[in-house]
């Protein structure tokens, strides 16, 4: 059992983007399967270099500095606090980029952020969110606060998931219930 204190829940809730599904009560047990389908579709979409958030297309290209680091060339990087430092090609820092490719822009370095996708269930629907704070950083302020590098991996505010990432989960629930599933976005 994992203990989560109030602070964690508060932080988590900030990242949550909620999809509320109005489905018949007898079908609520199917939420878990529908959530798994949706989580997979979201991660697949991101790994193909596309944003799963409505109104957003492909992720913007990596910066020249980041590309240089991937290629194993000298590059400037910055700490999460924004302090610049030069990466030595011989340093351990480059180990992180081993096997990383320039394309697609798949938001995967260690893979921890995408693995942190989770679902939370209620009587009325389910919520898909990322427990990793990076998801919110990439979606709102960009890495290192660079607005030009914002890559929407999770909807925030009034944004919604793309129909393309909802459709399979929705279809699954509709097939199971033989009733139309209504999707609603509720702002937290």
């Amino acid at each position: 059992m994992i203990k989560i204190d109030y602070k964690d829940i508060k932080n988590m809730r900030e990242e949550i983007s909620k999809i509320e599904l109005t489905v018949p009560i007898e079908m609520r047990s199917k939420f878990k399967q529908a959530a798994s389908i949706m989580k997979k579709d979201i991660v697949d979409t991101i790994q193909r270099g596309n944003s799963p958030v409505r109104g957003n297309r492909r992720f913007v290209d990596y910066s020249e500095n980041y590309k240089a680091a991937i290629r194993g060339e000298k590059a400037w990087r910055s700490t999460p606090g924004g302090k610049p430092y030069q990466v030595n090609p011989m340093s351990e820092d480059y180990e992180r980029f081993k096997g990383k490719r320039l394309r697609p822009v798949n938001m995967t370095l260690s893979g921890r952020m995408l693995k942190s996708i989770a679902a939370k269930f209620s009587m009325r629907g389910f919520t898909i969110y990322f427990t990793s704070k990076l998801a919110k950083i990439h979606s709102t302020e960009g890495p290192g606060g660079k607005a030009s590098a914002i890559r929407k991996v999770v909807p925030t505010g009034n944004e919604q998931w793309k129909p393309a990432v909802i459709r399979n989960a929705k279809r699954f629930l509709e097939q199971e219930t033989l009733k139309k599933v209504v999707l609603k976005l509720r702002r937290l």
Binding site: R57, R58, R101, L102, R103, V105
Partner: protein, 124 residues
């Protein structure tokens, strides 16, 4: 949605065009070059510029989907074989946009119809 579905099929190495061709292999030289920056599969993404340029333009009776950037449009034309000139090039045929005599795949059209219906139902 249409662009998302085209990009999804492209990533899955599938044509989005009904009866469209998709050459499944890369030439050994190109594969070697491509593997340095991207997966060595024909997913139409080396620099990503062409797929980034895939977009739509609304017009009175609908939308037009295509690659409108001049430089990227040439790449798209050669892969989709829109013109007689492009059919003569050695660029392998991988169709992601239908020619005038073609249509998108049935599953894509069905998804679009479902979405359009939902939008109309929502407004009612």
């Amino acid at each position: 949605m249409l662009i998302d579905l085209i990009l999804e099929n492209t990533a899955k190495l599938k044509s989005s065009v009904s009866g469209g061709k998709w050459k499944k292999t890369l030439s050994p030289e190109y594969k070697k070059q491509k593997k340095k920056v991207a997966p060595g599969v024909p997913n139409m993404e080396l620099t990503g510029d062409m797929l980034d340029a895939l977009t739509f333009k609304p017009y009175r009776d609908g939308i037009e989907v295509g690659v409108f950037d001049r430089e990227e449009a040439l790449k798209a034309e050669n892969h989709n074989k829109f013109t007689a000139k492009s059919r003569k090039t050695k660029v392998p045929e991988r169709q992601f946009i239908p020619r005038k005599d073609q249509k998108f795949k049935k599953e894509i059209l069905t998804e679009l119809k479902t979405l359009a219906k939902e939008v109309v139902d929502d407004q009612d």
